[in-house]
Point group: C2
Chain length 260, copies 2
């Protein structure tokens, strides 16, 4: 943990927005996105942050972007669960390899990688659902299980985790992979048990990434969900390794999303 | 198990040679390779096998090659542990996705995927070696552990396993991933404890792939090594799921490779 800027790739996306809304004033940021991010779309606290336009699949762009950075929060990639293979192969797999390789080479201390629940979506078999989405069910994934992606996007995220493992083992880069659940603002997804069981509030998202930026770790895979009473992802490892202490719980809302 | 031909991709490589030498006469083969395989390099039993020249990264080529096939043994890819990222991304990751996707779409029953010990090479930490290569050490990898690749080639093989998992879960393709050890003909690698602990003889290699072609399974990750007294990979799952019954043991040879 230093005062060096944190590079946020894919800063213009939804996860980027949740992070900057919540902890925009807690760090110096360098914002990288393929598209220009207009000042009006940024919270006031980061309105003057350095902005870089470029693609994470281009090593030269990433080399320039990591200069002087001690932490990279790597969100960039095609975020669509239904994205075609060609896109996730390039933007997610190759992009993540480029970011990790360049970060390791440049002596960046840690990379926080936005992985996804889709890396393990196929554990939700017909035999287990919908019971696993309910409070009485004790099935838990904890990050030690092998990937079982539910789509090619999930395949690409699992591959990104393995790339992170490689750069940790071979070059000492600290890497934490956050399997982000269902991120929504204000209230959990409406009338969607599954989404409520893996809800991640904006507030908890920002706090979790703050912990990922500040904590010391080697290589970790954690789940990024709120403190939901109904859940099938364990948050124990995020608590232990990162000091994650989520405040929200989808059980504080009715199934239709209204507060209890 | 039917009498349909078995498609062997990367048939001209070293693993292909071990398989065809040992079980060339046990199946009908269709041999795919990027380069022409000269008849003289093929064992007599497959001298008349159908040969296809083409690249597994080309869907049209693979579509043509899987016609009428019930099992694909997928060996094709860049086999070099030190291969650069660009090559393994294309030839191994994208190539394996193409093979699995086309096989699933065409109704092929099972794909046998040549994975590698390099997918887990970084478990061999300084603290564990060289003790883990010796008979007294009880450390075992069994295929349930997360990948820890020792190089980008290993990253690509781990990604191939996850791609297999995805096509199994989503489309019912039977997939077995064989983490091949150190394949050498005649005797174990010379003066190389590590290679002896993960030795796979040609005979056991052919038998293991024969079991992969004949057995019924859903999704499996197994280690492909001989019955070595010194080992750190478990072969229990290969025995149980496939009926693998290896005959060779590197302990039957001196450290210098000569028979005891």
């Amino acid at each position: 943990m230093t005062d060096d800027p944190v590079l946020l790739t894919g800063a213009g996306g939804r996860v980027g927005r949740a992070i900057l809304d919540g902890i925009g004033d807690a760090h110096e940021w360098r914002l990288l996105d393929r598209e220009p991010i207009s000042r009006s779309r940024l919270p006031e606290s980061v309105a003057d942050a350095e902005r870089v336009i470029g693609d994470v699949t281009k090593p030269a762009t990433v080399r320039e972007a990591v200069r002087g950075v001690s932490t990279v929060v790597h969100l960039a990639g095609d975020p669509r669960p239904e994205a075609p293979w060609e896109s996730v192969l390039t933007n997610n797999v190759d992009g993540t390899q480029t970011v990790m390789a360049v970060a390791a080479e440049a002596g960046v201390g840690s990379v926080v990688f936005a992985s996804s629940n889709h890396a393990v979506g196929a554990y939700e078999t017909e035999e287990r659902t919908p019971e696993m989405y309910r409070a009485s069910d004790e099935f838990r994934l904890d990050g030690t299980e092998l990937p079982r992606p539910s789509n090619l996007y999930g395949v690409s995220k699992a591959a990104g985790e393995t790339i992170g493992r490689y750069y940790h083992d071979s070059q000492g880069l600290s890497v934490v992979c956050v399997r982000i659940g269902n991120l929504t603002q204000g209230h959990p997804p409406r009338n969607y048990e599954r989404g409520q069981a893996m809800w991640l509030s904006y507030r908890d998202c920002a706090h979790l990434f703050d912990r990922c930026i500040r904590a010391d770790y080697d290589f970790e895979i954690v789940y990024g969900i709120s403190n939901n009473e109904r859940r099938y992802y364990s948050i124990e490892r995020a608590r232990e390794a990162l000091g994650y202490d989520p405040q929200d719980d989808s059980a504080e809302f009715h199934l239709d999303g209204s507060p209890r």
